[in-house]
Amino acid sequence: MSAALESRAEVAKLAGLLSVPVERFDALAELSPATLRELREQVTDVLYDSDVGALKRAAAASRHIPPAISATVAQKAFGPLLCARISGLVDTRTAVAVAGRLPTAFLADVSVAMDPRRASDVIGALPADGVIEVAAELARRGEHVTMGRFVGHLDDATIVGCFAVLSDADMLEAGFVMEDKDRLDTIIGLLPAGRLQGIITAAHEDGLWPEALDLFTHVSPARRGELGDVALGQDDAHVEAMLEAVQREDLWDTLADVAATMGPESRRRLRDAAGDRVPAHLRAALGD
């Protein structure tokens, strides 16, 4: 991914963590991705560790309370923010039993405020059906940053189940902000036939070409070539929209990486469509 795109994804995650509109942090996008990631981890630590003593006592108390009553307390007294903070401190069996008694909308609220790294065991132990319902609710709310933070903690079967409730645009947006993108290639490999085409169409129709090109760069060369061929197999308007995004975001290096793995017909079409816009140092990669 280009550093600028990666910084933009990091800014979105930081804004989500602090519950502020992402536009408020526009000026932070000039920081490097590594700086933003370190800053976000510092903020996460200070939010989670501030009242950890009281939260640990509350988590300990939950072991003495029947799950049905804990679920009532969670909703009526704690609220989603504190439930999110406690989620990693409660033992897994108790957490799963309580979560099973909470409504999907509440669990979605909790997910937004959670640091999944601190409750990975709980997330992994939740029934897939419940996780998929929460994923659908998060998608309905446009909470792609939250979805991207959770993907790495779900098994393949649950991810496949989520595909059915997410739009192609949802998947592009969640993939863009996903933590640990090394797994993206495997996830793309799990997509049912036809979804790759849908993702490329979504990139065009929803103005998500930067997100799509980012996706291209995090998959294996074979998959990258496959995605590139699908993209270059679209009509002229699609290809032109992609090139305009590449020009606007200065993603020519990324496009050159994609082009290197595409078939000769796609490379020829790309070269013809891009024309003089291709920077001189990348013309060879495009087959000039």
Partner: protein, 75 residues
């Protein structure tokens, strides 16, 4: 929003005394001040929510459970 005299110190305070990453030093003071304010606001909101939840939680518990839970909570 007025910019505090030392926005970098305000950010360090908001982060619980931790030194922010080096790159942050290059940001404008107003941007650093706004970031510090956003973090401080989030911390305050969480502390308020936690304080409000304790008493309310106990009221929701059946009486026999309340005594045991109060002990665990150290109340």
């Amino acid at each position: 929003m007025p910019v505090p005299p030392d926005p970098h110190a305000a950010l360090r305070d908001a982060l619980g005394g931790v030194q922010p990453p080096d790159g942050v030093a290059a940001l404008d003071d107003a941007v650093v001040a706004d970031l510090a304010a956003a973090i401080a606001d989030a911390r305050r909101a969480e502390a308020d929510a936690l304080a409000a939840s304790g008493e309310h939680s106990l009221k929701l518990l059946p009486f026999p459970l309340r005594i045991g839970v109060k002990k665990v909570l150290g109340l």
